[in-house]
């Protein structure tokens, strides 16, 4: 089934400020859609729509039926985001650590060479 681009992955899902707000609210525990809507000053259909997006990308899970449905954080859905940050940044951080070590060694070697000349 074709889906709008905004629901395709965790990156898109958390690009929307109100969806980030929902995730923050859910940190303290599961909530009903009506409570979330009230807290965030949106209509219930708006909150439901955001929650559906978050659910589709695995950031929230739901239990219960009908009006008793409770939404909870499923933080494992954030793993791709974390890995992305970790991957690229770590690549360079570790490269720079190695660079630091290497240039200090280079600096020492050259000072020794000068002393011996």
């Amino acid at each position: 089934m074709a889906r709008a681009a905004t629901t395709s992955d965790a990156f898109n899902a958390i690009a929307e400020p109100q969806r980030r707000e929902i995730l923050i609210r859910l940190r303290s525990g599961e909530r009903a859609v009506g409570d979330l809507a009230l807290e965030l000053g949106m209509t219930q259909p708006q909150a439901s729509k955001h929650l559906r997006v978050l659910r589709e990308v695995g950031l929230v899970r739901v239990r219960g039926e009908g009006k008793l449905r409770l939404y909870d954080l499923d933080a494992s859905g954030l793993l791709p985001v974390r890995e992305w940050l970790g991957g690229f940044e770590r690549f360079w951080k570790e490269s720079f650590d190695r660079l630091d070590e290497y240039v200090r060694e280079l600096s020492r070697t050259r000072q020794e060479d000068e002393t011996h000349e």
């Binding site: 690009a15 923050i24 940190r27 770590r90 690549f91 650590d97 630091d100 280079l106 600096s107």
Partner: protein
């Protein structure tokens, strides 16, 4: 938030050596091969020419034996202050992206600031997947609770 904040990455680190020396470590493959890539990675160079428009064509080898093709073209070289390079996997890689390295003096040391701006979301995602793959198996998953706390602080 700047216009590119959602598709750029800034990394900065102070290196304990004079600026000229740090810059020099970027200019020659005999230096670059000693530090490029995370811990445990090595490189095999096919071609290297340090000049604007010149290429560095090489293979990066991960600690688990996986090989990653790498290809770099220098866009700007201003000794000992700034280097801009185009970073991809092969010549004319449509998904290559620019990284700018700026070198500034900090006491007796040097601050390197690297800024990468991905031109589009698609190119960012491409890099995401690649670096995630490169770093996978090296990730130690911290507690998810910690991570959620971290990400929500970022957005507050």
């Amino acid at each position: 938030m700047s216009e590119t904040a959602d598709r750029e990455i800034m990394i900065s680190q102070v290196i304990d050596a004079p600026r000229e020396l740090v810059f020099e470590a970027f200019t020659d493959v005999r230096h670059l091969s000693r530090w490029w890539g995370p811990d445990g990675f090595t490189t095999t160079t096919r071609a290297f020419e340090f000049r604007v428009g010149g290429e560095w064509d090489f293979m990066m080898h991960g600690p688990d034996g996986t090989h990653y093709p790498e290809w770099i073209v220098w866009r700007e070289i201003t000794p000992p202050e700034r280097i801009v390079l185009l970073h991809g996997e092969f010549r004319d890689d449509p998904n290559a992206f620019d990284s700018a390295f700026t070198f500034t003096r900090v006491g007796d040391g040097t601050r390197i600031a690297m800024r990468t701006v991905f031109p589009t979301k698609e190119l960012r995602d491409q890099a995401v997947e690649r670096y995630r793959a490169i770093e996978s198996g090296r990730q130690t998953l911290r507690s998810l609770a910690d991570y959620v706390a971290e990400i929500s602080n970022t957005y507050r």
